[in-house]
């Protein structure tokens, strides 16, 4: 049985529904990333689990107990806030031991726990420091220690790394993951950074407009996106609508009729730039087009290629000159093919076409 069980959760403010029937089962010791663009409802989901926003319908269970209507203080779910929300009038030790003080744990025992936690988050000797004297990364760790001090049933992290600069973010990301593996806490982490989600989570839930679009292992989400939105969000941002009538597009898919209209999503990194050749009968997608722009990315060059109406991105180690005619080739395993008939209703997809 799942440790944290969310069933048909619906949340909204006034007439506006933000979460539409969320179902999510989190196993004990698992870390799930809630991934989505801003405004998709991921933070609202965390707030609903913590009891900060009222739910309209649905249930939340923790270890077999229903907690849907309990006030925040009786849930034993702690949050690491995006802004850290440390109390500036307290020292590091007072911040961390707050939850223990509330639970009336004896002072000596609480102090020992504070020291333990400080060594876990690599902040030994900082117990009497003022919170306001700490750097962003250090505050982050104090916030984590404070949340872990009370041994919560579930730890939720709301974009915990977004306020850190790029370098610190990478190291904190690894520390956090290592800590989660070592201590085995059950956690939900909200992020809009796909890489962060892939690196840290055991499973990823991609949210869009208040619904879970896809839930799966990082590999599944990355390699087999189930909807155009997930494909696009996970970095397959080249999208073309394939029609048989187009002269400069050729599609050969094994085990699939190519007579219909498809939406094809693929990554620029999986797109090969080749010298222009007229006919190719390899399995996969072949396009011809003109190079419009190139950008040096370090490892390779990114080419902006116009093929008829569509503009595509393709990476190559070679820099093709601007205005040269090239062929773009995408192997079949790198193509995410969506039948337009079944995905037509998806709003994300529509907006994608417009954008």
């Amino acid at each position: 049985m799942a440790h944290l069980d969310i069933r048909q959760l619906q949340v909204g403010y006034g007439d506006k529904t933000i979460l539409h029937g969320i179902n999510l089962q989190v196993q004990k010791g698992e870390m799930i990333a809630l991934l989505g663009p801003s405004g998709c409802g991921k933070t609202t989901l965390l707030n609903a689990i913590c009891g900060f926003v009222p739910t309209q319908s649905g249930e939340v269970h923790i270890a077999g107990h229903e907690i849907t209507q309990l006030p925040a203080e009786r849930r034993n779910i702690t949050m690491v806030f995006q802004s850290y929300a440390l109390w500036p009038h307290m020292s590091v030790a007072q911040n961390i031991s707050y939850g223990l003080k509330v639970r009336k744990i004896p002072k000596a025992q609480a102090h020992k726990r504070v020291l333990d936690l400080l060594s876990i988050v690599n902040l030994e000797g900082f117990e009497n420091e003022k919170v306001t004297n700490l750097s962003g990364g250090q505050r982050q760790r104090v916030a984590l220690a404070r949340a872990l001090a009370v041994e919560p049933d579930v730890l939720v992290l709301d974009e915990p790394l977004s306020n850190l600069d790029a370098k610190v973010r990478l190291s904190v990301r690894h520390e956090l993951k290592a800590l989660q593996k070592k201590l085995g806490f059950t956690s939900l982490i909200v992020t809009h950074d796909q890489e962060e989600a892939l690196v840290m989570a055991d499973r990823v839930a991609v949210l869009n407009q208040g619904r879970i679009e896809q839930l799966g292992t990082p590999e599944d989400i990355y390699q087999q996106p189930e909807t155009p939105f997930v494909a696009d969000f996970m970095g397959a941002d080249n999208c073309i609508i394939y029609k048989t009538s187009e002269p400069n597009v050729q599609l050969h898919l094994p085990n699939r009729s190519t007579a219909q209209t498809f939406a094809l999503y693929f990554r620029s990194s999986a797109t090969q730039v080749q010298a222009f050749s007229n006919s190719k009968n390899e399995a996969g997608l072949t396009l011809s087009g003109l190079v419009e722009q190139t950008a040096f990315l370090g490892q390779q060059y990114r080419h902006t290629v116009r093929s008829g109406e569509q503009v595509l991105q393709a990476d190559s180690r070679e820099c093709w000159p601007i205005a040269s005619q090239v062929s773009l080739f995408v192997p079949p395993q790198a193509l995410h093919v969506f039948d337009l008939a079944t995905h037509e209703t998806s709003n994300a997809f529509q907006s994608n076409l417009r954008g």
Binding site: C50, A72, E73, R74, W87, H89, R146
Partner: protein, 286 residues
């Protein structure tokens, strides 16, 4: 030839520059002197009066200097020390009353979900919106019916009504400037709403509340009209004493009293300067 011309020219230019400089220097000096006179002239006059024993009209300076009146004022049986005590007791009570009202009111009004929020905020401004005299005469009439006229309680209530505007508005600003995530974090860790309020919200609002208290204290110390209608003649505060003394032509006593009233004002203003944080001021009235 051309060289001499340039030298001449330069000489003329520097003379002109010097003249402009000198003119602007004297203009500035005159302006600052006038300003200083306007600001400090009356205070200097007041200071001289506090150490003058006799000072008759045609003389520029007092005929006789001395601290006789200071001794009179600080004589334990004098009116001044008695009314100073009354003033301080009333001011402290007004602070307590205002805090008791404005802590819960300020906290509630800082929540943007509160219905009629703006209406309640304006409610505390209303006593200031009408002419003071009208308001206090009516209060005096009502208090007379309730038997509060001439009592300390009556004066404390009048001063509190006056001080509430400051304390409520400043408290709302103080509570609004607290990051709501701070109390969420506390609830999250198992603390109930009251525990959270005492341990997280109140300490964060404390500087603002202290500033509000100081405002109320100072306003109460200086308040005259309300005290005059509700308290006089039974309750004599320092401003009332000052009024009587100057009406009787006793400028020494009234100057010393004024000086006594000035000291807490200046002292507390310095403290307020420290406690009023810019981010709190930006929340005033929001």
């Amino acid at each position: 030839m051309s060289q001499t011309m340039t030298t001449q020219h330069r000489g003329f230019r520097s003379l002109k520059a010097r003249f402009t400089l000198r003119w602007s220097f004297w203009a500035q000096t005159a302006f600052i002197t006038l300003l200083a006179l306007a600001l400090f002239g009356p205070i200097a006059n007041l200071l001289i009066w506090t150490i003058a024993e006799t000072w008759y009209f045609p003389h520029t300076l007092p005929n006789q200097w001395g601290l006789k009146y200071w001794q009179q004022v600080f004589n334990p049986y004098s009116d001044v020390s008695g009314s100073l005590m009354t003033s301080i007791i009333i001011a402290l009570c007004a602070v307590v009353v205002c805090l008791l009202v404005s802590i819960p009111a300020g906290y509630a009004l800082s929540k943007h979900t509160m219905p009629w929020r703006v209406g309640f905020m304006l409610l505390f401004l209303i006593p200031q919106a009408f002419p003071n005299l009208t308001v206090y005469i009516n209060i005096a009439r009502i208090f007379y019916d309730w038997g509060l006229n001439g009592t300390l309680l009556g004066v404390v209530l009048v001063h509190s009504v006056h001080g509430l505007m400051y304390s409520v508005w400043i408290s709302v600003a103080a509570f609004s400037s607290i990051d709501p995530m701070l109390s969420r974090a506390s609830r999250n860790l198992g603390a109930g709403p009251i525990y959270t309020f005492i341990h997280v919200v109140l300490p964060q609002a404390a500087p603002g509340l202290i500033a509000a208290s100081i405002f109320v204290f100072l306003e109460s110390l200086d308040e005259f009209t309300g005290t005059f209608f509700v308290g006089a003649p039974e309750v004599t505060t320092l401003p009332l004493l000052l009024y009587t003394a100057s009406m009787e032509g006793n400028y020494q006593i009234s100057s010393i009293t004024a000086l006594i009233l000035l000291i807490p004002s200046i002292g507390f203003m310095l403290i307020i300067n420290k406690f009023m944080r810019p981010e709190m001021l930006s929340k005033l009235g929001k």
